[in-house]
Symmetry: C2
Subunit: 235 residues, 2 copies
C-alpha cells in the first residue's frame, strides 16, 4: 500500500529540522532502520555529503540511519532496494535536473507505488505533484522537463504564503502567481502552509497538521480547506 508524507517544509519557525514531524516519521518508517536520502536539491548549494550529514541528526533521534543516494554506484538499484525514501528541500530545479540526469523519476514512482514509504519536504514535496510548475524556487539550472512524479493528481505549492496586507513590495503575491499558472494549466494546486502535510495511504489523501490549506482550482475562486480534510475531491 502506498504510504507518502508530503510536507510543506522541513522546519517550522523556531523549531529544529523535522522535529514537528518526528512522531509521524517514527511510525511512517517503522519497517526500516535505514532511510535512503535524496540530497539533490542542495539547499544553499551545500554538498550532497554535507546535506546527508545534516539530515542524519533528526533521523538519529528516532533511531534511524540515513544513507545518501549519491554514495551508491547504482542509484536505480538503491531506490529499488530502499525500505524508506526521503527527498529533502532546496532548489526544485536542481533536484529535478539531477533526477532526470540519473533517470530515476520512474524508479522512485515505481518504488513508492509498490509501498516503499516516502517522505518529501519542500522541493521533495513539489516533485510529488504532476509538475514542478508551481515551485517557488529560482530557475538556477534548466531541467529537461518540468514533469514530476505525479504521486498525487494535482500540483503542490509548498511554503504557501498569504499576501501581507502591510507590504509595500510590488512583486506578485503567491496567489497571483498561481492564478497565472491557471492561465496555462488546468490541474488543481494545493497551497500547503508551513506545518501542514498531506498523508497518502493507498488511495486516501488527507491534509494533516493544524492549519488550513488554500485550494486553487481552474476557473474557480481560491478557497480554504481545514486540517484533516480528505483530498479525494481533487482527483
Amino acid at each position: 500500500m502506498r504510504s507518502i508524507i508530503i510536507a510543506s517544509t522541513s522546519t517550522i519557525h523556531g523549531g529544529q529540522p523535522l522535529d514537528y514531524l518526528l512522531d509521524e516519521l517514527e511510525n511512517h518508517f517503522k519497517t526500516t532502520d535505514e532511510v535512503l536520502f535524496i540530497p539533490y536539491a542542495r539547499p544553499g548549494g551545500i554538498s550532497h555529503d554535507e546535506y546527508t550529514t545534516r539530515v542524519a541528526e533528526p533521523f538519529g533521534k528516532i533511531g534511524k540511519s540515513v544513507k545518501g543516494i549519491h554514495s551508491f554506484d547504482n542509484p536505480k538499484k538503491a531506490i529499488a532496494e530502499a525500505k524508506g525514501i526521503f527527498t529533502g528541500g532546496g532548489n526544485t530545479f536542481v533536484l529535478v535536473n539531477q533526477l532526470y540526469k540519473n533517470d530515476i523519476l520512474s524508479s522512485i514512482k515505481e518504488a513508492v507505488n509498490n509501498g516503499t514509504p516516502y517522505l518529501g519536504t519542500s522541493a521533495g514535496s513539489n516533485i510529488c505533484g504532476l509538475t514542478m510548475n508551481t515551485t517557488n524556487d529560482m530557475p538556477i539550472v534548466y531541467p529537461p522537463s518540468f514533469k514530476t512524479l505525479g504521486l498525487v493528481p494535482f500540483n503542490i505549492n509548498p511554503h504557501y504564503l498569504d499576501p501581507d496586507p502591510k507590504s509595500t513590495h510590488m512583486g506578485e503575491t503567491r496567489e497571483t502567481r498561481i492564478k497565472e499558472f491557471h492561465a496555462y494549466n488546468t490541474q488543481p494546486v494545493i497551497g500547503l502552509r508551513e506545518g501542514s502535510w498531506i498523508e497518502v495511504k493507498g488511495d486516501s489523501m488527507v491534509l494533516k497538521g493544524n492549519l488550513d490549506s488554500r485550494i486553487f482550482e481552474f476557473g474557480k475562486d481560491p478557497y480554504e480547506i481545514s486540517a484533516n480534510s480528505d483530498l479525494e475531491f481533487l482527483k
Copy 2:
C-alpha cells in the same frame, strides 16, 4: 548608439504605472511618437490586447501611442521597423517562451544594438540579462531555453527584496536564492530594488534612481553600490 532602460518595476508603491519614470521616458523615446509594446508576459494572465490598452494610458501622458506586437502579421518586421520598444512585466517564463516561439530574441537584440531605444520593466528587464535564471517568477510554462538577450554582461534580479528580520516564513530569502544560483553559474547578478533602473547609453551602464543596489559576484560576499554608480566593473 544603444539606449536602454532596464527598470526593476513598472510601478512603485502608492504610484501609478510608470509615473516615476515618465520624465525619463519622454526623453528616452523622444525620436518617436509610437512605441512598439511587447505584452507577452501577460501579468495575471490578461490578454495581449488588454495589457496593451493598459500600457497606452501612461504613454498617452507623454504624447506617445503604443501598438502591441501581437497586432502585426510579422513580428520580426515590426521590431525591425519600430522606433522604440517596450517589454512589460508579468511572468518571465511566459514572456521568454513566446519570444522563442516567434523567434524574435535575435531581432530585438539587433534592433537595440542598432540604436532603437528599449525599455524593460520587471520581466522585460530580466530578459536584458545573460539568462533568465534569476527571475522571481513561477515556472508556469516551459520555455525552450533560459538564455535571454544579453544586452548587459550580467544577470538581473528585479523587485529585489531584502530579508525581513521579523519574518517567521522559512522559505528561502532572495539572497539565499541568488547564492544558490552561484553554485551553478558564475556571472554577476544585480539585485535592482523597486524604483531603481539601469541606464545604458552606448557602452556606458549607470545605476539610476535614488536607491542602492545589491551586487552578487561569484565567490564574493554580496555588497551594496550606490545610485549613479557606473556598472562598467561588472563586465
